[in-house]
């Protein structure tokens, strides 16, 4: 858990992984930062977790609006319902805590959901497209969104990023792009469980963090997508260009990950200007080389 005090606005970031870490970086770049606090979070131990939230409440003081950012969760496409049960419970705890906080002051709740999880197997998703989940991870994200919609007293912000990539931090799962880069640097082949022509939409965690940190966002659902489908083969070619070397890939075809997930560019929020994959992958290569 990471807390930022900027006087009139206080930010609470839950989950400092790929997106959360990028969000923290973006929040720390903003002006008027008075103080920050990094607190341990006892995921899975609800009693300790509730106590930690109460300590955070004390740290926040009584003045100013609070923005709660939910970026937590280790779940992914391969997670089972059992894996995700604890994550849902922690989410409920944070939501209830935020509702209590909202009885005293303005509280915004910012949920990082998943466009891929909600729209798996759908192409050119646009605004009237209803979510169609295909696995536990998608169902968890949908359930979290529904719980937030049913909450009281909170200003609700939902972010639905597509396939996120970025500089891996700590124990965060290594995404596909960093894995490709690291393996190529070590001259090891990478194994991808999908068809080479599988289409996805890739967005950088840095762009997501910068967008979420903005105070000019309006409540509602925000699709943080590129709106440009990309085949795995094109993605690999992009990594090869950035690395200036060949990337060896073994494709193990499985129906599980063969679903295309693409989005219409019309879904992009007006203020959302993501950087191109080429430039971001080049930065990622530089960051990984730097260690």
């Amino acid at each position: 858990m990471y807390l930022v005090d900027r006087g009139a606005v206080k930010d609470v970031v839950l989950g400092v992984g790929l997106v959360g870490g990028a969000l923290v970086t973006a929040l720390n770049r903003k002006p008027n930062r008075v103080r920050t606090h990094s607190a341990p979070t006892s995921w899975g131990n609800e009693v300790a977790f509730a106590a930690e939230l109460e300590s955070a409440r004390t740290w926040l003081g009584a003045e100013g609006a609070v923005r709660v950012f939910w970026c937590a969760g280790r779940g992914g496409f391969a997670s089972t319902d059992a894996d995700l049960a604890k994550e849902l419970q922690s989410f409920r705890t944070v939501l209830a805590w935020s509702e209590r906080l909202a009885t005293e002051r303005r509280v915004e709740f910012h949920l990082t959901s998943s466009a891929g999880g909600l729209h798996e197997g759908q192409r050119r998703v646009d605004s009237p497209t209803p979510a169609a989940t295909m696995r536990p991870y998608g169902r968890l994200k949908l359930q979290q969104e529904q719980l937030l919609e049913q909450s009281h007293g909170l200003a609700r912000f939902i972010y639905r990023p597509s396939s996120v990539y970025g500089v891996p931090r700590g124990k965060v799962r290594l995404g596909m792009i960093p894995t490709l880069i690291r393996n190529a640097l070590a001259r090891r082949p990478s194994t991808i469980s999908a068809h080479p022509s599988t289409l996805r939409d890739y967005v950088s965690a840095q762009d997501i963090g910068a967008f979420m940190a903005s105070e000019s966002n309006q409540p509602g659902v925000h699709y943080l997508v590129m709106g440009r489908p990309m085949a795995l083969t094109s993605l690999i070619a992009t990594v090869e260009r950035a690395l200036q070397r060949q990337v060896a890939v073994v494709f193990t075809t499985t129906k599980l990950n063969d679903q295309h997930i693409t989005f219409s560019p019309a879904l992009r929020p007006v203020d959302w200007n993501p950087n191109s994959l080429d430039s971001q992958v080049a930065l990622l290569v530089a960051a990984i080389l730097k260690g």
Binding site: G121, Q122, R123, R124, V125, D126, S127, P128, T129, P130, A132, H195, P196, S197, L199, G227, R228, P229, M230, A231, T233, S234, A237, F251, H260, T262, S264, P265, A266
Partner: protein, 346 residues
């Protein structure tokens, strides 16, 4: 957007350069096609149309910006500078998600409704590319048709690919192959050559096409440049014969040298001293140089292919083709009788 993954999803790509006069009609035509496919029995849906503004010289970009909010299936992308028709089409292909990608010209000479005929030519035999072929002369002036045909045949002979005369900007391409070809775009890029690198499964569909323009969009100079690019994009097989040609020439020079020496020593028939030996040596050196030059060129061609990203193989999934073959509605509608142009506004 379509959630109907049991249907064949279509993506149109339209490079735009000077189409202001025709774009409104084309967009209406695409909308009519979309509506008919949605309501029809054929397992096909129009997923999207990508309009690629290739630095247009008229008001096309502004018109498309005005039209886009009215049609959710429309996407407009803008290229930073003029990249030519092939570059623009490749850029559009990279933005598609469909099972099949159809490239059409902006000027109305390609009727989107004909996509059914293209699909019907490609899907039953699982082809990857289908070119539209004009039933009659597409241009109003006979000499334009004749010169176009002759030039294509000449290039086909030069590059050794009989498919060249079939090339047409109205093409249906399997989605993954279209996107892979688009990703190969680089200097001196020729889309159809990139497609030929990826697949041999090419077919055609013949129907009427008319060019509504009075004058061609191409000047003589741009046509020459177009054919030069086409030849350069291929690695003409003639290059492979250069080393052989040089080697044969060198052998002939050696034989000629032996004959000349024999003629001097035995028969003494050479009257101008030094000329024969000089001639033989110059010819021999030239032949040797041609041979070495050919070898260098062949190596260079291989390196260039790798630099251009020409893949050794391409994996495709043709399983959805069966959807078309098995559909009983296809049999009934195969002649696209449900998609006649009569009731569609132009």
């Amino acid at each position: 957007m379509s959630t109907n993954e049991r249907a064949v999803q279509l993506s149109f790509v339209v490079p735009v350069y000077q189409g202001e006069k025709y774009l409104q009609g084309l967009v209406e035509r695409l909308e009519a096609l979309r509506v008919q496919l949605e309501g029809g029995a054929l397992p096909i849906r129009l997923l999207e149309a990508i309009f690629v503004c290739d630095e247009p010289v008229d008001g096309s970009a502004a018109l498309l910006t005005k039209l886009t909010p009215q049609y959710s299936w429309m996407t407009v992308i803008h290229l930073a500078r003029n990249s030519g028709q092939h570059g623009a089409t490749a850029a559009g292909m990279l933005h598609t998600s469909g099972d099949w990608v159809i490239s059409i010209d902006e000027d109305g000479q390609h009727d989107p409704m004909k996509v059914i005929e293209l699909l019907d030519a490609a899907l039953p035999t699982s082809r990857d590319v289908c070119y539209a072929q004009p039933g009659a002369s597409v241009h109003a002036r006979w000499w334009r048709n004749a010169s176009s045909r002759s030039a294509k045949r000449f290039v086909a002979w030069i590059v050794g690919d009989p498919v060249v005369p079939l090339f047409n900007s109205f093409r249906l391409v399997r989605g993954e192959i279209a996107r892979a070809a688009g990703a190969l775009a680089g200097h001196e890029f020729y889309l159809d050559v990139a497609l030929r690198w990826l697949t041999n499964r090419v077919t055609t569909a013949r129907f009427e096409m008319q060019d509504p323009r009075d004058v061609s969009g191409y000047s003589f100079r741009s046509l020459l440049s177009h054919f030069r690019r086409l030849i350069m994009a291929y690695h003409p097989p003639i290059l492979r014969w250069l080393p052989v040609l040089g080697f044969v020439g060198a052998i002939m020079c050696v034989v000629a040298g032996v004959v000349a020496v024999a003629a001097r020593l035995i028969y003494d028939t050479i009257h101008v001293e030094g000329w024969t030996s000089l001639f033989v040596m110059v010819s021999f050196s030239t032949a040797l140089m041609v041979s070495l030059f050919g070898l260098v060129l062949e190596r260079l061609t291989g390196t260039l292919s790798r630099a251009q990203g020409r893949p050794a193989f391409m994996i495709v999934d043709r399983s959805k083709d069966a959807l078309w073959r098995r559909s009983p509605s296809v049999e009934a509608n195969v002649n696209a009788s449900a998609l006649t142009n009569a009731h569609v506004p132009r």
